[in-house]
Symmetry: C2
Subunit: 345 residues, 2 copies
């Protein structure tokens, strides 16, 4: 139960350059800081203090090339690309447009990269403030786009001295229902709250959230806990990229089958349902073995045989779209399609 | 330039039922509200006051069936599905797990749907408070998951009396750079800030953000401005769904070609680069027309002709993955593949 929060801007920090002592800058400009406060620090000043800048030409095609090179250097994998916009996963694991590289609030001959390890940056600042006797939470924040929603919000790239989640799982609501899935990403919400009192151009790179319980203790997991790995992410690739991946997969369908014999028997029924839209019904004959269809040879002209071969491949692509693997064997007497069971999702 | 914000919980609202007057409940429990405050109201109490509940059995398979039926009724399209988790776009346009249908904080025989039109709900509450002489911003919020990041945050489903965006585009930073892409979704950030003082089980369904400039004026666009339509969303489908879509597309490749003759000439070079992985080099012969390849007839056995037909379809799928359309014509003397220009992204 929280009584209320205050969200306060820290003004006067001014320009930050490589080697600057952020703990000193912050405490000088916010002498009113207290134990338990949460500092929301814009990643840009962290990057600048850490010297995470690359030199680029001020304009022209050379600038664009240098920018592309910087992007490539920060990219683990491209997630989606449309026109000039590249959404990538950075080496740190963030999915961000342009790898979070920014040309604002820096002179025209530099680009600002994200901190190399924002959790480490947060821990270092947390420790430096602790050394000054101040036990606060530290969030290193940045502005990020989202899928499905217009506009940007600030989120946490790094954190120290504050739990990244508030976990409601297992709590019982007033109606006796146990909460199941509610794990709140509070450091992202704190970063968002902090953003509301910052400006983009008016040099308020730090906000303080006062009144949020539990902040200040070391040993918390860091913002890395918020990163969902690609394997468990249902949106690990852009839609166009994943569609192209599917088409590419259709060009190189593997020929093995998976699944048990029982699976395969059931699969034939599904295959027959797919046939209608793909190949002429009547050409597929149940071979009497689970999951095996023999295909009557079509008219024996070269054109008809090539078309039939293409149609069988269409069928296999349609099966693959339903998660069904298949193999095909061609003989001069016709073809045999073996359909695998459903691939586990 | 903001001096600072306060985020305050509104306690004592208690259970809300259909027909309740939210303006009365809120002003009674927060007599300290002032002009310019932003109210962040959990969508659940809006739904309850509006009677947006469906009756369901308390347990058993019938409950699950009723839940599925409720989900279907709220779904415009399925975005992604994995195991029991369905991410859908609702009729309102939100992309949310289970269409935002919730079984918490309601008795076991009901599910709570989202408000039918959260912007209208926000406008109604804004107007009802204005009628009481109180000019505030109203945000109807809910808890949502995100792509790429673990944990949930609160966002705005509806808004009235507050601009959804703070637009930094065109501002000049202290280094003379013009900001380009920075349009902040402030109502989402306000919703997130509000969430920090709410509980999931302790009946704090309303928070107040005090000190945020500009709140209270009617005629703002509403949270609908935050909805990105599927066509302009790079993540309109789950990765697995989009991959399956690509495989399905390979099963039914259209046979028309697009692009100019010049495009098609360039495309042949790309097609040749793809050939290596797909069909035996040497069987594709440049026909001397832009974008047209003739294909030498393979060995004239039925098996070889079917396999070659399948290989040509593989090639077409590989071309499609690169955005290149194609058509194929089979003759007893071989096949002709016409390759279209690149489809505009």
């Amino acid at each position: 139960m929280i009584d209320g929060l205050e969200v306060l801007p820290v003004r006067g920090i001014g320009d930050v350059t490589a080697g600057d002592d952020l703990a000193a800058l912050i405490t000088t400009n916010a002498p009113w800081l207290r134990d338990g406060d949460v500092l929301v620090v814009t990643s840009k000043i962290v990057s600048k203090a850490e010297g995470r800048l690359v030199e680029v030409p001020a304009d022209g095609p050379e600038r664009e090339a240098a920018r592309e090179a910087a992007l490539a250097s920060q990219t683990r994998r491209v997630v989606a690309r449309r026109g000039p916009t590249a959404i990538v996963q950075t080496h740190q694991g963030f999915v961000m447009a342009a790898a979070g590289i920014d040309a604002s609030n820096v002179d025209k001959t530099h680009l600002v990269l994200l901190p190399a390890d924002p959790d480490a940056s947060a821990r270092a600042l947390h420790a430096a403030l602790a050394a000054r006797g101040l036990r606060v939470g530290v969030i290193v924040s940045d502005t990020m786009g989202r899928a499905w929603r217009n506009g940007l919000t600030d989120v946490a790239l790094g954190a120290a001295g504050i739990e990244p989640f508030r976990d409601h799982r297992g709590e019982i609501d007033p109606y006796g229902n146990e909460l199941e899935l509610t794990q709140m990403a509070v450091i992202d919400e704190l970063a968002a709250a902090g953003e509301l009192v910052k400006g983009k151009c008016d040099q308020v790179p730090v906000a303080v959230v006062r009144g949020y319980p539990g902040a200040g203790t070391a040993g918390t997991p860091g913002a890395v806990a918020l990163l969902r790995d690609a394997a468990s992410d249902m949106f690990s690739l852009g839609t166009a990229e994943a569609r192209a991946d599917g088409l590419r997969a259709a060009a190189t369908l593997p020929t093995g089958t998976t699944g048990t014999t029982a699976d395969r028997a059931a699969a034939v029924a599904r295959a027959r349902a797919l046939v209608a839209g793909v190949i002429a019904e009547g050409t597929l004959i149940d071979a009497g073995q689970p999951g095996v269809l023999t295909c009557a040879p079509p008219a024996a002209t070269a054109a008809a045989l090539m078309r039939f071969g293409a149609d069988l491949h269409r069928l296999r692509a349609a099966l693959a779209a339903e998660g069904l693997s298949s193999a095909v064997a061609y003989t001069d007497a016709g073809a045999t399609v073996t359909i695998g069971g459903e691939t586990p999702a």
